[in-house]
């Protein structure tokens, strides 16, 4: 029995009326809300799948209902399993699965904030919207314009998404703190120097990028907005979005474009990991390591600029392929620079692991046990550092990863050192992947110009970003996505910080928070380019927004 039949049988056993269809690597199932919890349990625990995310959608103009899509991943078999549930348009309520799948906590609350879908059987709270946002204004509902500016009275809020106020002295970390380079807020409760509990409030920079993509932009324009979700790994978002549309519309892009995408994705992974190693060294007081890591990273930025024309935010990706080719000269130079990076990085790592304070403060700190990692469906180096052997590049190969031979480093200890070592190993693997792909780069076009994107198709696209899986879910519309959902890896990893920070020394809190390589603006889906292409500071945007 093949794996898809196994899933169909399992679903039918619980919900005989389930409407199931399979497209590419995804099994789509529409189920009744009364069977949702049983199915979630069967898929998440019995069939040992991970939880990717859930997506709320206002489908009243299509079928008269709201809908919620729970997306699970069977990485071992390279499958996505989507459970779709309809919700009454007058009283949209869906049973919560958070007690069965703890990883679904945030996405349920996001659907509640943005679409007004209520979740029964759980404690509900505001996740994304600020406390003073009008209660009956749900930004992702189709009747709400993208540029709505409600009259609000700014008020403060208590931070409490993770339960009751704990004991101990509250130490605020954020929204501005030297260890956080983006505005997020952790409240660490300490007794002496020991952290006893943690609270988190994020989404300070949520700007409704999905709404913008669904209402104001065209299919191709969204590529460029998607790339601006993250200042470090934006290309992953752009590829993930383009792939989602290509998958939904059945567009087969040229082989050469797939190779170029993979090569640039790996360039991005190297510079992201080097950035992280540098920041980790800085947080541990080893600024020499920080400076030299960033010096080596400059070589990577040279490769990025040479291959794409930009050091960052390359803008080469479109639905249908890429806009920038790689010639023989660039290939040769990239290979030369990679040699330098490999040699200098090896020397640096050798030095770093011999700094006693680095090892003492990485080893045995910020532990995320395997069971918790599994329960929360964490992703990327955070998962691989806790013994979860999952990497989308290998498990659901996309772009040209099927042509590369690489290892997925996995460490079982779950501590900060494991996550550090995963990233170090991945730098070498990425160098190897780039070499292999440059060597095999096929001839041919890099873009197809003519294609059609039919309405009403949907697709789940997953890309392994440096921090873990990026997920873009799309339902196609007329000239633009009907629904475009983005889930960054940090979104999935932040809840694990509570486990990692508890009972740890306060001194190790910054490195532990940093160990998931958090990208808060990614998580919040920030967008700071105006319609004329001008960069806007966060302050300007905050001012205008208010």
């Amino acid at each position: 029995m093949d794996i898809i039949s196994k899933y169909i049988d399992a679903i039918k056993a619980i919900e005989p009326r389930a409407d199931i269809h399979v497209s590419d690597d995804t099994v789509y199932t529409t189920v009744s809300s009364s069977k949702l919890r049983d199915l979630a349990k069967a898929i998440y625990w019995d069939m040992d799948c991970f939880f990717r995310t859930c997506v709320g959608a206002d489908e009243r103009s299509i079928n008269g209902f709201y809908a919620l899509y729970h997306i699970f991943g069977d990485d071992r078999n390279g499958l996505n399993i989507v459970l779709k549930v309809y919700a009454d348009p007058n009283n949209p309520t869906i049973p919560s699965i958070v007690d069965i799948v703890p990883a679904a906590d945030w996405c349920e609350m996001e659907a509640r904030d943005l679409l007004g879908i209520e979740f029964s059987g759980r404690k509900q709270y505001r996740l994304v919207l600020p406390p003073y946002w009008p209660k009956d204004l749900y930004p992702l509902r189709k009747e709400v314009p993208y540029n709505v500016k409600p009259q609000v009275i700014i008020s403060s809020e208590k931070v409490g998404s993770w339960g009751k106020a704990p004991t101990g002295v509250a130490v605020p970390v954020g929204p501005y703190h030297p260890a956080l380079h983006e505005p997020e807020y952790f409240e660490l409760y300490v007794e002496g120097e020991r952290v006893v509990d943690v609270r988190y409030r994020g989404f300070h920079v949520h700007r409704g990028i999905e709404k913008l993509g669904e209402s104001k932009l065209t299919y191709q324009q969204v590529n460029f907005v998607a790339e601006r979700i993250c200042g470090i790994c934006g290309f992953e978002h752009s590829v993930c979005y383009a792939q989602a549309i290509e998958k939904a519309a059945g567009i087969e892009i040229p082989e050469r474009a797939k190779f170029i995408r993979s090569i640039v994705l790996e360039v991005e992974r190297i510079h992201s990991h080097l950035l992280w190693v540098g920041v980790a060294a800085h947080l541990l007081g080893y600024d020499t390591g920080f400076m030299h890591t960033w010096r080596i990273r400059e070589h990577v930025m040279v490769i990025a600029e040479m291959l794409t024309g930009s050091r960052k935010t390359y803008g080469i990706n479109l639905i249908g392929g890429v806009r920038k080719d790689i010639n023989e000269e660039k290939k040769r130079r990239a290979l030369d620079v990679l040699k330098i990076i490999e040699k200098e990085f090896a020397e640096l790592v050798k030095t770093m692991v011999n700094v006693p304070q680095i090892m003492k403060r990485l080893k045995g700190t910020g532990i995320l046990p395997r069971e918790d990692a599994r329960k929360l469906s964490v992703v990327g180096p955070t998962a691989r550092g806790s013994g979860l052997d999952r990497d989308i590049r290998r498990d659901l190969p996309y772009a040209a990863y099927g042509y590369a031979d690489f290892n997925v480093p996995v460490y079982d200890e779950g501590d900060n050192l494991s996550r550090f070592l995963v990233r170090v190993d991945e730098v070498y693997e990425s160098i190897s992947i780039i070499r292999q792909l440059l060597d095999q780069l096929p001839q041919g076009p890099i873009m197809i110009e003519e294609f059609d994107i039919p309405e009403g198709r949907m697709a789940v696209s997953v890309v392994e970003a440096p921090r873990g899986e990026d997920i873009h879910f799309v339902i196609t519309g007329r000239g633009k996505p009907y629904r475009w959902k983005v889930r960054a890896p940090t979104y999935q990893n932040i809840p694990a910080l509570r486990v990692m920070l508890r009972d740890q020394p306060l001194a190790d809190a910054p490195i532990t928070i940093a160990s998931i390589d958090p990208c808060f603006s990614c998580t919040d889906r920030v967008f700071i380019i105006d319609k004329h292409g001008h960069r806007k500071s966060l302050d300007q945007i905050m001012y205008r927004w208010r």
Binding site: P172, E193, L284, G285, T288, A507, D508, P510
Partner: protein, 294 residues
């Protein structure tokens, strides 16, 4: 008259050199980082800029300002008294030095506790933890030194100081000087990425400038003391001793700066144990050597 001139010259140098040495340290650190780094006068520019800024009274109000002034005054007096007393060959110089240094340290650790900022309080409590080991051992080492020599002062030109037990004590004092200077790995009271400058978080403008300047002076002081002790047997002139000690303190400053650039930050639960692992065996061996007549 000569004494007065030299006193003024050395007091002036003591007040002028520390920020310049910090500038040199920053330059060295930059070279280790493969950077060019700021000019060596940068620390002075930074301090002057801080002194020109408006005075923002931190939480804790006048208490903080008065204690900060007292801290700066004591730090400055400590270094000036030290060089003056050495030049005049004052008999009880070590006792005065210990007393003044303890006062300076006590005020430094007290001031942040006046604020209600948790970062300042955590930073100050870390400083107390470290001081409880390092400064206590600083006093113990100097106490043993006085006991071994039988004098509360400095024995100029005494070859008896070249004994193994004495040398070991002074070496331990060099380690203590490194820890007391608040460099990495022992900068846990400030620990910028962890505590957002910790003990100093509530200070800005002239008060911060004063604190920083006083800390630089303290850094010179803690290097000057062991330098004098190690050079004592090699000269019969107080002036030469002071010149040599300043030169050695400058070399030490560079060396300490270099060491700091190669290490990471420790943790408050690790730091005291780490330094105890050095102090206790060194002191025990020193006592045993002394008892054995070495």
């Amino acid at each position: 008259m000569e004494y007065l001139i030299f006193s003024i010259v050395f007091a002036g140098l003591s007040l002028l050199i520390p920020p310049l040495m910090d500038g040199i340290e920053r330059k060295i650190r930059a070279r280790v980082h493969s950077r060019i780094g700021p000019p060596i006068t940068q620390t002075w520019y930074d301090l002057l800029k801080l002194f020109e800024k408006e005075l923002v009274i931190p939480e804790g109000g006048l208490h903080i300002i008065i204690l900060s002034l007292l801290y700066a005054m004591l730090a400055i007096l400590t270094i000036i008294f030290t060089v003056s007393m050495v030049l005049m060959g004052y008999r009880y110089v070590l006792i005065v030095i210990i007393t003044l240094f303890l006062f300076v340290q006590a005020i430094f650790t007290t001031v942040p506790f006046i604020t209600s900022n948790p970062f300042a309080i955590i930073g100050a409590s870390r400083e107390v933890m470290l001081a409880l080991v390092n400064e206590v051992f600083f006093v113990i080492i100097l106490g043993l030194y006085m006991f071994f020599t039988g004098s509360p002062g400095l024995l100029l030109g005494s070859t008896s100081l070249l004994r193994a037990s004495m040398i070991l004590l002074v070496i331990t004092l060099f380690v203590s000087a490194y820890v007391a200077s608040g460099r990495i790995p022992f900068d846990i009271a400030e620990a910028e990425p962890e505590l957002a400058s910790g003990a100093l978080i509530e200070f800005s403008g002239p008060i911060l400038g004063m604190f920083m300047y006083s800390n630089f002076i303290k850094r010179l002081f803690v290097k000057l003391v062991p330098s004098m002790l190690i050079l004592l047997p090699f000269t019969n002139n107080w002036l030469y001793l002071l010149i040599g000690s300043f030169a050695m303190a400058i070399i030490l400053w560079v060396l300490y700066g270099l060491i700091a650039a190669l290490l990471g930050r420790t943790r408050v639960d690790i730091a005291p144990i780490s330094i105890l692992k050095i102090y206790i065996p060194f002191i025990i061996v020193s006592i045993l050597l002394y008892l054995a007549g070495y």
